[in-house]
Symmetry: C2
Subunit: 638 residues, 2 copies
Amino acid sequence: MGRYLTNIPLEEGLNRYLQEIKYLNPLKSEYIDIDKCLNKVTSSAVYANLSSPFYNCSAMDGVAVKSSSTFMANEQNIVSLKDQEDYIEVDTGDPIPKEFDAVIMVEDLLEKENGIIKIYKPAIPWQHIRCLGEDIVESEMIVPSFHKIRPQDIGAMISAKVEKVKVFKDFKVGIIPTGTELIDRHKVPKIGDIIEFNSKLFEGLLIGYEAVPVIYPIVEDNYEKIKESVLNAINECDMVLINAGSSQGREDYTHDIIDEIGAVLIHGLAIKPGKPAILGHGQNKPIIGIPGYPVSAWVVLENIVKPIINELTYKENKKNQSIEATLSKRVMSSLKYEEFVRVKIGNINGNYIATPVKRGAGTVTSLVNADGVIKISQNIEGIDEGSKVEVELLNDLYGIDKTIVSIGSHDLVMDLINDELTKSSFGKVKLSSTHVGSFQGILSMKKGECHISPIHLFDVESETYNEAYIKKYIEEDMALIKLVKRTQGIIVKKGNPLNIKSIYDLVDCRFINRQNGSGTRILFDYLLQKENIKKSKINGYEREEFTHMSIAKAIQNDDADCGIGVYSAAKVFDLDFIPICEEEYDLLIKIKDLEADFTKDLLKIINGKIFKDKVNKLGGYNLEDSGNIMIYNYNIEN
Amino acid sequence: MGRYLTNIPLEEGLNRYLQEIKYLNPLKSEYIDIDKCLNKVTSSAVYANLSSPFYNCSAMDGVAVKSSSTFMANEQNIVSLKDQEDYIEVDTGDPIPKEFDAVIMVEDLLEKENGIIKIYKPAIPWQHIRCLGEDIVESEMIVPSFHKIRPQDIGAMISAKVEKVKVFKDFKVGIIPTGTELIDRHKVPKIGDIIEFNSKLFEGLLIGYEAVPVIYPIVEDNYEKIKESVLNAINECDMVLINAGSSQGREDYTHDIIDEIGAVLIHGLAIKPGKPAILGHGQNKPIIGIPGYPVSAWVVLENIVKPIINELTYKENKKNQSIEATLSKRVMSSLKYEEFVRVKIGNINGNYIATPVKRGAGTVTSLVNADGVIKISQNIEGIDEGSKVEVELLNDLYGIDKTIVSIGSHDLVMDLINDELTKSSFGKVKLSSTHVGSFQGILSMKKGECHISPIHLFDVESETYNEAYIKKYIEEDMALIKLVKRTQGIIVKKGNPLNIKSIYDLVDCRFINRQNGSGTRILFDYLLQKENIKKSKINGYEREEFTHMSIAKAIQNDDADCGIGVYSAAKVFDLDFIPICEEEYDLLIKIKDLEADFTKDLLKIINGKIFKDKVNKLGGYNLEDSGNIMIYNYNIEN
């Protein structure tokens, strides 16, 4: 259809939309039992049906008396009172009969024997009595309207004999997943199918916005069928989200359907990701078109759907918790859009460091792995490395503070360390691993972005691992925690159908490479050079993956014939493996951090039996130096 | 039993207790459907069952090609490709068949006609293809153990074909209300009954702690019956709260029952309120004795039960949101206890002012009306007026910021203003009224604790209202918003059985007075003096209540024969009324605030028809000057 999308700034578009729709369809209210009212919002003030207390009662353990019969008592004139006539015994909370008007505490009785008490001072009228209505007087207001009901409000209402309260009804939001390629998550997916999961992502987010989500069945890309589903949902709900079909492709019907049912107010916002959002309404209720990519959808829910719901349910549009952090890398941004950049955050010696993660809007794991989001205004072209940025948190700050940040090379043993750390600390210590390769790891350590860097960097000159790189790139005093020696080799298909035996045989195969800067790439380049094989001879040299697992999976799937990686990855996917060499995979750490808690936590795991057993089970590792610490202290050395 | 209670500091006691119980009974885990896992905590890491995408697919709309068949293409050498042989059409997300290894975007095609495309540059292998596993590789970890599951985690898990996850089971907390005087909230209460509401207060708090509350039936004060209920609950739950019987009275069995079932570790903490808490365990599960007064109970739940649950469910013990505020009055505190003082908070021109509310541990409304809590350490004797204090919030800061703070005299018209303000602003503006009497209202205004003060202060010398007091007590330029003239008089029982006609007739009746500093008290004292009646002649002169409603309710209940108050209060309780005079009830405000938003909001209500109609319906009010503004500008006057 080639429809033209507008590029309206988010805030302007949202405000324009809210102005149009805020009074269209006010939220209904209902009387509900007090049992069900927690966290609901009152639509009318609640008044007391009964005073609390609803009778005069004793505030102390003691005796109830007529104050007039005590007025003469003093230390010279001890007064005696008779049980059931002049006084009765009362415990705290006991009702005070009409004929009495004061309580004397048990401690203030001179004597109490055989139904006679003796007192030496007068009782002031109404002393130690909790009078009727002391807490609440019948007909008094307990909570006003538009009040979110808390546990203490329920307590007060029950004590005032309130049984039902008038509250705003749940705000129901219909979710309609559309797309011929979508299948229900319970079905077995075939090639070409996409397992529908956005509706469950939306459901969780909507619960967080205190709305009630209703997921409708998947609808194929058919104008009439989608329209029918929207009409049905708009009848049953207070708002409808259509996912997706919000763009301008051949089968993107959302715009025209909203237009037919009601009106599209805005199509296209200056945000990235999330641009092709549609803001419309029908039957006086909001209908929103949500883009299909999960990250785009997430941005639209958080920044458009959430404020709309808050406005229509009379709630504050609360910001998520945010912190100030230092950006570890320059981030570029387009002047055409406000951009939402997901970042990981590490607390490195008390400084929050934010490191951007992959930007693809299709990768839902980028939302899983990110700790927060940076918003870059439309009028900014980018943010420099080292700048202070505001980060809206996706994770608990407490969790972030307790997380050991690892940036560098990937190996399965890092996952084992993570799992053991978490389990042994009952979730109080975690490990966050970013896989950027050994060389980037060293640079990250130098910049103070991480606590540890797992590295395996082969130095061609000295034919040793790691030490040469540390000395060359970092001026600070460093240490290496020796972790594992691991076997690198050629990963090939099960049964090795191409009969690959050495690096020579890689020529003419479909190869899959690791990214530049990874230790494995450096090793491979060294091997090619040593054997005098030109890179251009390797079919697939340019095709890069970031982990051993991705290499192995691609080979298992017959997208490539071979790649370089560790034995354990080949084993996971049941592939064959031709060993080439044993390399040293170690943890780089600052000397000044050797005494830090996180180092102790790590060493406890690394030196523990459980970890060693699990590493041995993976296969292809040698633990002979594991846990040893090498010190690179330049002051001593020079 | 006269058991001796210890006085252990809260933190010390809690830490000692947690050390004893934290490993006793680790939380069980279970596999649950992914539909039900939002906000649950994983007990095992979750791994991908399927890669995402699980096939190579197109990242663009275009054509899939064999890259080898495009290598020769350049601007001098246009290459033609045939549909279904050399290329196929693909949309974004479409699978790429095995024979193809690159996608050319539709924009990069020179021509497309009759099943033939023409290209002018080669396709790099794997360009514009989202490779299998780009987001998630099968067998990769999606989330670690001890991870609280968020919406995006559910999205990622579904896309990786995860159907069940292993999470920690719900933490069930049994609540046992005990007490012979307690009745179920659905029953009709008789004198001496107490409507049981603590269990519902606890239930709401426990839901906030992410535990699952189970309320057991009320048990009378009987050792064997309570024991039986506790044994039953400890079998079914992970923790049990017994309410109350935690003190040392005749029928306080909680200590001995816990001791019999398991062990009491601590009985008595240095906190106020909440001292007689009992921390024990049985069958390796915590059993806690909670005091009976609602505020004491609330303190014990927030400060003891919550951290215990967080520890046993492996969660952070998050503090409630807190702000810094200025204390408006000196607060005294005992060196014996850490004290928890409830305060109201007002945002007065950008400064948060905290004003303590009634301290009685029995008044659940003090928790309803408070905006926050101040903790006063045990080693501090009190905090001076004007000190900065940390306030843990019980209410939304947003709500506090939007609240007009009124401190001064009480009248029903203030409730009407509150209700109208809230309704007309959809809950965005509220009024918080504290009833301390007119004179304290003037002092609060002088100290900057409030936005407005409702006052009706009769000046004996000039025989006029309000102006003389303002000039005498406040140096700043002030204004009065004229609100209502209201009829004060003598409130007597229905039918006026004592035939009271004037102030003279109050002698020898049972009178109930208003508190010192209230406008009504000042009026009454003036009337007595004018008529030459001695205060000592008035039976009940010393008995003080804080509102017109309390006076009227006491008379209705035959706790007094008469009192002074407004007509509207007499009318609410269907009492008789002997008019004495008409007085001026006005809102005191600073001149500099006359242009403030809150003043505009107030004036809009006061000048509106709805408000006037409702006031007239109450009866006893005269609105002739309502909404007029009197200016007291000393610079102009002097």
